[in-house]
């Protein structure tokens, strides 16, 4: 790896300024956040499946944020804030799609499948 010099003051190029420190921090965090869920599942750390599911979903959420910040360089001022606005709008739509589908189809299964009435 070549050392990164800061003597260039060009700003004609698009996109944010990236740094080695940023990528290395992101990568180290991502490695931990990937290895731990695999270890939790493959090593049967928790007895309850629900606990394991909650733990690995929490790790996935944190890892997605880490990738967004360190690799995709998300912040509140890139592209005049429109990047973040588009992301927040998309996250709302993703939440509605996922939560809505699971909720509606779960209710359909519970209420309408013969033999599954409790």
């Amino acid at each position: 790896m070549s050392e990164h010099t800061h003597d260039h003051d060009h700003h004609e190029a698009e996109g944010p300024h990236v740094s080695l420190k940023e990528y290395v921090t992101g990568f180290v965090l991502a490695v931990f956040l990937t290895v731990i869920p695999f270890w939790v599942v493959m090593g049967n750390v928790f007895e309850s499946s629900t606990t394991t599911a909650i733990v690995i979903l929490a790790f996935a959420l944190v890892q997605i944020i880490v990738h967004m910040v360190y690799f995709l360089h998300m912040n509140f001022h890139s592209e005049g804030g429109w990047n973040m606005l588009a992301l927040i709008f998309t996250l709302i739509l993703v939440f509605i799609t996922l939560a809505g589908s699971l909720w509606v189809m779960h209710n359909l299964n519970v209420n309408m499948m013969p033999g599954m009435m409790n």
């Binding site: 698009e14 996109g15 940023e22 499946s49 979903l57 690799f71 993703v94 809505g100 589908s101």
Partner: protein, 209 residues
């Protein structure tokens, strides 16, 4: 002819603009590409929702718990993760205006991506031979649709990357190529973010009893 009327008007009152400052982004390409990625994100959300709904519809066929090989998934996950930082190295080389270094790290990224894709093809082949094809049950249809769409994105990412290598070789680090490298970096890192969802939701949660 309208110029005459314009100059006549400006003499009466100075032009008033609604937006006074320079608030718009200088070049919309990166923002436009980001919005494309967000729409892609919605495609994946729909596929994840389908998988979530059909996640236990095995139709008496094989289950994910029986057939998923977590060791294989751990290897392909690490290939994709390492390819993220090698792409970062390519970005740093580009920032230092080193075309050879940029091309070298892009090539490494492409090879890691190809390795990931190779493992995925091997896994699909193995699954179909074990009697778990896309037609077996709702679960496997949703699985192949979700994981296959991600794999297809990686494939087109590699096609784009190889094209970019030829463009870099021919034209060097011109502004257009820098923009392309930056757009591909967003695409590549976005695919890694989607893969976090896939390995957690499909594979790790799929093998839980």
């Amino acid at each position: 002819m309208s110029d005459n009327t314009m100059t006549a008007n400006t003499q009466k009152a100075p032009l008033e603009f609604l937006v006074k400052g320079d608030h718009h982004p200088q070049n919309g390409t990166l923002l436009g590409f980001w919005i494309y990625l967000m729409s892609d994100c919605l495609i994946f959300a729909c596929l994840f929702a389908t998988y979530g709904v059909l996640g236990r519809s095995y139709a008496g066929g094989p289950t994910g718990m029986e057939l998923f090989d977590l060791n294989l998934i751990a290897i392909s996950t690490s290939l994709l993760l390492v390819s993220s930082i090698t792409y970062g190295f390519a970005m740093l080389q580009m920032q230092a205006n080193k075309v050879k270094g940029t091309m070298f790290w892009l090539a490494v990224t492409g090879l890691l991506g190809a390795g990931f894709l190779g493992l995925e093809v091997y896994e699909f082949h193995h699954l179909i031979h074990a009697g778990a094809g896309p037609q077996t049950s709702g679960f496997w249809t949703a699985f192949f649709a979700l994981v296959g769409t991600h794999g297809l994105h990686v494939f087109f990412g590699i096609v784009w990357l190889v094209t970019l290598l030829f463009q870099l070789k021919k034209h060097g680090l011109i502004p257009a190529n820098k923009r392309r490298v930056f757009c591909l970096s967003m695409f590549w890192h976005f695919l890694d973010v989607v893969w976090i969802g896939v390995f957690t939701f499909v594979y790790l949660m799929g093998v839980l009893p």
